[in-house]
């Protein structure tokens, strides 16, 4: 009786998930559709005449974009962790005067709309000659992640027992040594969470890429897709194939690191 009830719920759950993920399925389906079937009415619900032509186009045309996105993503991760892990340590354990104000500013910084930041960066980069440069975009993309990262590190490092740090101090370790040899290794989970989000956000960034490196020699994959659409391209299988490839990091992260994602989204949203 009970088991039949839960199976009923499982069926409803599967149906709901299927509805929710239909657009994702549709993206896959269109990416495998032949050009001549693209305008068919009604469209084929399954890729019966599947073709990999779209993916071949991706391999031919989009690899440099993917490479750029990878470099930008890794650069953003490195910059974000390097800036925010020490800050989180200080805020959590060293009780700086004015630390509360800094936390507040970080929270407020996260509320600023991306396009406003983009406009400011544009004006500054124009003067500095940093437009259409990869390092410039890395710095801009890191603004998406740094405030969040500091908060995650602060929250996580607050949980490290003070006795541990005191023991290190007794053994003669200074703050830097303590941070490097004890706090950072113990914060591995926080580093993973922060890295995942920093990578995902910079990989997905469209606003900064569109304003700061549009038309440059190195453009990320989001612009690769955007140019495809913008050129009134009718090869929707190639567009959707690129979209599928661009979604791969998200898929990999969801499969391999789902618990970090859920932890990042809710990061203590709820009082325990």
């Amino acid at each position: 009786m009970t088991s039949r009830r839960t199976w009923g719920k499982t069926t409803v759950g599967v149906l709901l998930t299927a509805i929710m993920l239909f657009p994702v399925y549709w993206m896959l389906n269109v990416s495998l559709t032949r050009d001549q079937d693209m305008r068919k009415s009604p469209p084929d619900l399954f890729p019966v005449h599947g073709t990999l032509a779209g993916y071949r186009t991706v391999l031919d045309e989009q690899l440099p974009y993917l490479g750029t996105s990878l470099v930008i993503g890794l650069g953003t991760v490195a910059l974000t962790v390097a800036l925010s892990a020490p800050a989180g340590y200080a805020l959590a354990k060293l009780r700086p005067r004015g630390g509360g104000a800094l936390s507040f500013l970080l929270l407020a910084a996260q509320m600023i709309p991306g396009i406003i930041m983009a406009m400011g960066f544009y004006a500054i980069y124009l003067q500095l000659g940093l437009l259409q440069s990869v390092p410039g975009l890395i710095v801009a993309d890191s603004t998406l992640a740094v405030p969040f990262a500091v908060l995650i590190f602060t929250a996580f490092m607050s949980g490290i027992p003070g006795e541990m740090l005191q023991a290190a101090r007794t053994d003669g370790a200074g703050p830097v040594r303590t941070f490097w040899s004890i706090v950072l290794p113990m914060s591995r989970n926080a580093v993973v969470t922060v890295s995942l989000f920093a990578f995902l956000w910079s990989w997905s960034d469209f606003v900064f890429a569109g304003t700061l490196v549009n038309g440059g020699a190195h453009e990320p994959i989001t612009l690769g897709i955007y140019h495809y659409i913008g050129n009134n391209n009718q090869e929707w299988n190639a567009i959707m194939a690129t979209a599928v490839v661009a979604s791969l990091p998200a898929a990999v992260i969801l499969v391999l690191a789902q618990r970090y994602v859920a932890a990042g989204v809710t990061a203590g949203a709820v009082k325990d």
Binding site: K40, G99, L102, A108, F148, P175, V265
Partner: protein
């Protein structure tokens, strides 16, 4: 639009207590007895991020404010000698015929998206809270729309909503309904971007509300069930009231982040046709970058109005969160 909930404010409250002189929580007493670390060490660790905040948040914001107070042309933008014109750009923006529609669309877009994201997210959270087979796996799959790059979601929806070859119109046809020009008709484009944005926002609401549900003691439900309360009654008398703090946080944060949605609208409709789906975010970008002759000043002015709105609601969010952390 990507969003996360911040770690609870009580941690930084605790920090503030440490720095000031409020009573420390009992668990921290041992730590408080040790000599306070030298301030220079603390600030040495904070210097990079402080400089970073100043250089890459404060300065771009300042530049934006400066842009909005001067009469910039392309030439003076490069040379930086634009004349100061005070609030002229703001007056221009208020008098612009796009102002009223953009304001209306921003309010409608934000309000409708929030209402649906929250309602759907809550319904799903309650459903998934029942612990059936596969529930954890399915809940994880619901995260997918949230994790996808916005350009991927936006272009997929564009093609699904395509007037001639889209699956949505094909489905309408199968039901015997007339096709809709989702993206190309002024009366439907705002609805289209709202639908796509709701789809993207549901997972966030689901995850946060689900974790809120987990903290409601199950004994309450058992007692209510013994007293003969049905599922509907239990939801309205237990779940909903006890979830109020989490709901407030979710909605306020959603509000701040929905206000600044840009990617989805820009990629799907560019705010068109004929400004039918223009919000403050896309209008600001349109003014600054969307034309051959950029209007940096008015663009920055619109952007700053958006900053003020986002910060106002953002501060409200922080207040609510802090109040909850104290209680």
């Amino acid at each position: 639009m990507k969003q996360t909930v911040h770690p609870p404010e009580h941690r930084s409250v605790r920090l503030r207590n440490g720095a000031a002189h409020a009573a420390p929580p009992p668990a921290r007493t041992t730590e408080r007895r040790r000599p306070v670390s030298p301030q220079w060490a603390a600030w040495a660790f904070l210097t990079p991020v402080t400089l970073y905040l100043a250089l890459f948040y404060a300065y771009p914001l300042y530049r934006n404010l400066d842009l909005s107070l001067r009469n910039y042309t392309v030439r003076s933008f490069v040379q930086g000698d634009a004349p100061f014109t005070g609030l002229e750009n703001y007056r221009k923006v208020f008098d612009d015929p796009t102002f009223a529609p953009a304001l209306l669309h921003t309010v409608v877009f934000t309000g409708v998206c929030l209402a649906f994201q929250y309602a759907i997210g809550l319904a799903l959270a309650v459903f998934f809270n029942q612990h059936f087979r596969l529930s954890a796996t399915l809940r994880a799959l619901f995260l997918v729309p949230w994790l996808l790059p916005l350009i991927v979601s936006a272009s997929t929806w564009s093609w699904m909503l395509n007037s001639d070859s889209g699956i949505v119109n094909a489905a309408l046809h199968a039901l015997g309904l007339d096709p809709v020009n989702w993206l190309t008709s002024p009366s439907w484009s705002l609805t289209s971007v709202i639908i796509a944005n709701i789809w993207i926002g549901v997972p966030f609401n689901l995850v946060v509300l689900y974790s809120g549900l987990q903290s409601i003691p199950s004994g309450l439900y058992e007692a209510a069930a013994l007293d003969g309360a049905g599922a509907w009654r239990r939801f309205w008398s237990i779940t909903f009231p006890l979830l109020r703090p989490v709901s407030a946080i979710t909605l306020l944060l959603g509000l701040v982040y929905t206000l600044k949605v840009f990617d989805i609208i820009w990629i799907m409709t560019k705010g068109g046709p004929a400004d039918a789906s223009t919000t403050f975010a896309t209008w600001s970008y349109q003014l600054g970058f969307g034309n051959l002759l950029p209007a940096f000043g008015p663009g920055a002015a619109v952007g700053n109005l958006l900053v003020v709105a986002a910060l106002a609601f953002g501060l409200l969010y922080m207040r609510v969160q802090r109040k909850q952390a104290y209680s």
